[in-house]
């Protein structure tokens, strides 16, 4: 009897309780007896390494994995619920916003917001009402674009806001955000976090999955940590005085003394030098995405490139990598002091340049391939005779990298699509290490990767530099650049605005250089 009374008291305070959730996939237990309690009106973060089961748990909650495909109980608003699909959970006010946004690029903001919930007057869409309501919702999320604007014409940050507007339209009471800021720059992230804070004040409960621990520390009221499919602990951010190190300890199950491996650079001669590199946008004629860029990288040196999204970092790197982006307008490239002209990706690879792309799934991997085919795919010549692939050499090469990079997989015959983000990234790294690059460019090498794997990847990058290769790291995470680089260039609107050595760079002065065009470069771009 007593326990019943206790339960009733909880109902007012607790919006969601998941009890002993176990979800199995063929051959693997993704979740095992996971429990969590979310209080009404709080921001509840879920932390865990990639593959720990965070997204699976949210899919169980939102009905993507229907009732019956898992065991355990979900109590929502004091009542046990058994969602069979997303429609049912949305009806109950639970809305999930996935990492990959579910917006249709060709449709307008308003059309996207009301997709599936259109305002209809006798079978015809009422555009006046649709746009009026859309404008109202957009105001709520702090977006002042016209509702008729096509989704493809607004940035990722704004798209994220449209998703939230869409959720608000569904009378959301429990909003789940899966890695909401992964693709956003600092400004947009802050704006989004501010919005979440505002929603909290309006009484909307949020569950947020994120790898960005500083953001979690900033926004969350409590944190549930999941490790290897089990809920490890729930932390009260304010009461327990939780900081990043505390969260990391929970996630990896041990103390991480440093987020970067120990490393002493051994810097040699200049290997690559780029002078006056100018590239025109392939989409917008006349717009230069790189404006007379000059930089160099020495052997054994890790050079960081900092810039906001859209500043032209990726464009510059891809253009140097065999002119694989944009229209080359002018500039010189020197390798070991000799001028070279690399007009295609194969030429760049042969010249000893490797490029780890920013978006693994879209640009970096063929998800249908297995590990061993992927490993050798950028330099098949190396293991082929008369254009016939030596499968034994292929297996041995892949097996070698599996061991040295400690890729977690039963065999190298496994499909890369089945690996977790960190292990996929290791396969991509293996693919480029296999080409024996003298210069390796890494574009956002740790995006969407958990802390433990990040540490390992930093180690691999440092090893590479130590063996005398030149390394470029492009990243949106300033702490990563500060921890890893020997030197950091800043890019703003296609122009290189500064270069800071390890000792003198701080988040503040980098951010300043990333956001201000110097007079010289402003003149050059005019």
């Amino acid at each position: 009897m007593l326990s019943d009374v206790g339960r009733w008291q909880l109902v007012s305070d607790v919006i969601l309780e998941m009890r002993n959730i176990t979800k199995e996939f063929p051959g693997v237990k993704a979740l095992e007896n996971v429990s969590m309690v979310v209080r009404r009106g709080e921001v509840h973060a879920i932390c865990g390494e990639n593959g720990a089961g965070k997204s699976t748990l949210m899919k169980v909650l939102s009905g993507v994995w229907p009732h019956g495909s898992y065991t355990g109980e979900i109590i929502y608003d004091g009542k046990p619920v058994e969602f069979k699909n997303i429609r049912q959970s949305e009806h109950a006010g639970i809305v999930i916003i996935h990492q990959e946004l579910a917006l249709i690029p060709e449709l307008s903001i308003a059309e996207n917001i009301f997709l599936g919930n259109e305002y209809v007057k006798s079978g015809v869409i009422d555009w006046v009402e649709t746009n009026r309501k859309a404008r109202e919702l957009l105001a709520h999320v702090g977006l002042n674009d016209e509702p008729q604007t096509a989704i493809k014409n607004i940035g990722v940050g704004k798209q994220q806001l449209v998703e939230i507007a869409k959720a608000l339209n569904k009378d959301v009471r429990l909003l789940i955000l899966d890695e909401p800021t992964a693709a956003l720059n600092e400004d947009d992230s802050q704006h989004l976090l501010g919005l979440i804070d505002e929603l909290r004040r309006k009484g909307i409960t949020c569950i947020i999955i994120s790898h960005k621990l500083n953001e979690i520390e900033q926004i969350a009221d409590s944190i549930t940590i999941i490790r290897d499919g089990q809920s490890v602990e729930t932390l009260d951010v304010k009461g327990d005085k939780v900081d990043e190190d505390r969260i990391i300890r929970g996630m990896v199950g041990r103390e991480m003394s440093s987020r970067f491996p120990d490393y002493t650079p051994a810097i040699g001669d200049k290997f690559v030098e780029v002078r006056d590199w100018t590239v025109e946008s392939p989409v917008i004629p006349g717009r230069m995405v790189c404006k007379g860029s000059n930089f160099y990288v020495r052997r054994g040196e890790i050079v960081g490139f900092a810039g906001l999204m859209g500043a032209g970092r990726t464009e510059l790197m891809r253009s140097i990598f065999g002119q694989s982006y944009g229209i080359f307008r002018s500039g010189e490239l020197f390798l070991d002091g000799k001028p070279v002209s690399l007009r295609s990706v194969p030429a760049a690879i042969d010249a000893g340049i490797g490029y780890v792309t920013e978006d693994r799934k879209v640009l970096g991997l063929n998800l249908l391939d297995d590990i061993k085919t992927t490993t050798v795919s950028a330099k098949l010549k190396k293991i082929s005779k008369h254009s016939v692939v030596d499968r034994r050499a292929e297996f041995e090469a892949a097996e070698g990298y599996r061991k040295s990079l400690r890729t977690k997989t039963p065999t190298v015959n496994e499909g890369v699509g089945k690996l977790s983000g960190g292990n996929q990234q290791k396969v991509v790294l293996a693919k480029w290490l296999f080409t024996d690059p003298e210069l390796l460019i890494l574009d956002e090498p740790t995006r969407g990767i958990d802390v433990g794997a990040k540490y390992e990847i930093y180690g691999i990058i440092q090893e590479l530099a130590k063996s005398g290769k030149a390394v470029i790291v492009v990243s949106s995470e300033l702490p990563e650049l500060l921890g890893l680089s020997d030197r950091i260039y800043t890019i703003c609107e296609g122009a290189i605005t500064g270069c800071l050595a390890k000792g003198e760079a701080t988040q503040e002065n980098l951010m300043k250089l990333m956001t201000t065009l110097s007079d010289r470069s402003a003149a050059a771009s005019a």
């Binding site: 692939v389 097996e399 496994e414």
Partner: protein, 412 residues
Amino acid sequence: MKKLKDIFGGDTRQFGMIFALVALIVFFQIMTNGLVLKPENVINIFNGNSYILVMAIGMVLVIIAGHIDLSVGSVAAAVGIVVALLMRDTGMHWVVAVLVGLVVGAIIGAWQGFWVAYVGIPAFIVTLSGMMVFRGLNQLIGKSNTIPVGEDFQVIGAGYLPEIGPNTGYNNLTVLLGLILVASVVFGAVRTRRNQVKIGAATDSATALWIRTGLISAAILAVTLLMASGRKGTSFPVSGLILGALVLIYGFISTRTIIGRHVYAVGGNRHAAELSGVRSKRVNFLVMMNMSILAALAGMMFVARSNASGPFDGVGWELDAIAAVFIGGAAVTGGVGTVIGSIVGGLVMAVLNNGMQLLGVGADLTQIIKGLVLLIAVAFDVYNKMQGRPSIIGLLMRNSKKAAAPVSDKAA
């Protein structure tokens, strides 16, 4: 069940289409009181379908690369008429004529490949255009007449291996061919096994491998004896020989060579392939060109078999070839498919056709059943993929050594 899995390497489901083929043969064999496996009929199935299967080989590469080719029937017809006219009007030797035919095919393929690869027009449009253009060319050149071809040319479509050596009651060359094939299958198995053990990659048990090899060998021998024991003067058809050679060559190219890898890479993720140094335009060009060359060959084989080139040769062939590829486990989105799978898919259609003909089922009903088989086969595939299992034969044929257990679905 566990044993079966071992023998066939991985999921038994992957062998669905091969089982379906065997089941179909058994079914019709019983229903027709043994007509299906009569030597004459088996030879007939090979002769009557090899040109479709030749095109299926080209088509699967096109589809793996993420394209489609609707023009193959028209290309076959256009090349057929050119070759028939050359032989009739200029008295060109048939061997030279065949070579000229292949060159014409290559030129047509280069034309279509150019638009697809270098201009970037979807292959569906380019080859839809080609379908009309080359049909029209056939009728323009041939003035919509039927042009007969000489007997010597007919060998590539209707010829048989000659009778040589002592009278054994069997066709000696056919038997010899079968034995060579069995020997190479066994040799290949031994070598693969030895390599796998050496590098520690052996995933299936030795017994399973031997049973598998034994079954394949038995099947080859059975077909060989069947074909060798036919009516005097018939034996293994030359068209079957051409097909067999092409299967071996293209099977090898698609799985073992750099260009083969590149075809899969472009179809699987074009951007990733390009950023890994694959020249995707060249791959697309070559794949389209290769298709037209094979279509040209198929067209000539058909003309040889039917003794003449006509204005309506090759109508609807593209659909048969495409159906074979999809029944054989290729994915509409590209990146997945195998040469062997497509041949099996084509044979399923062929046996279905033949069996129903023997049963006296009308062409109307046959069409309906074939259409449904295509739908069910692909639906089966899609269902399997939704369950996270590999496609029926697609994956298996690419790598039969693959361990079956999925590692993790839980990636965040």
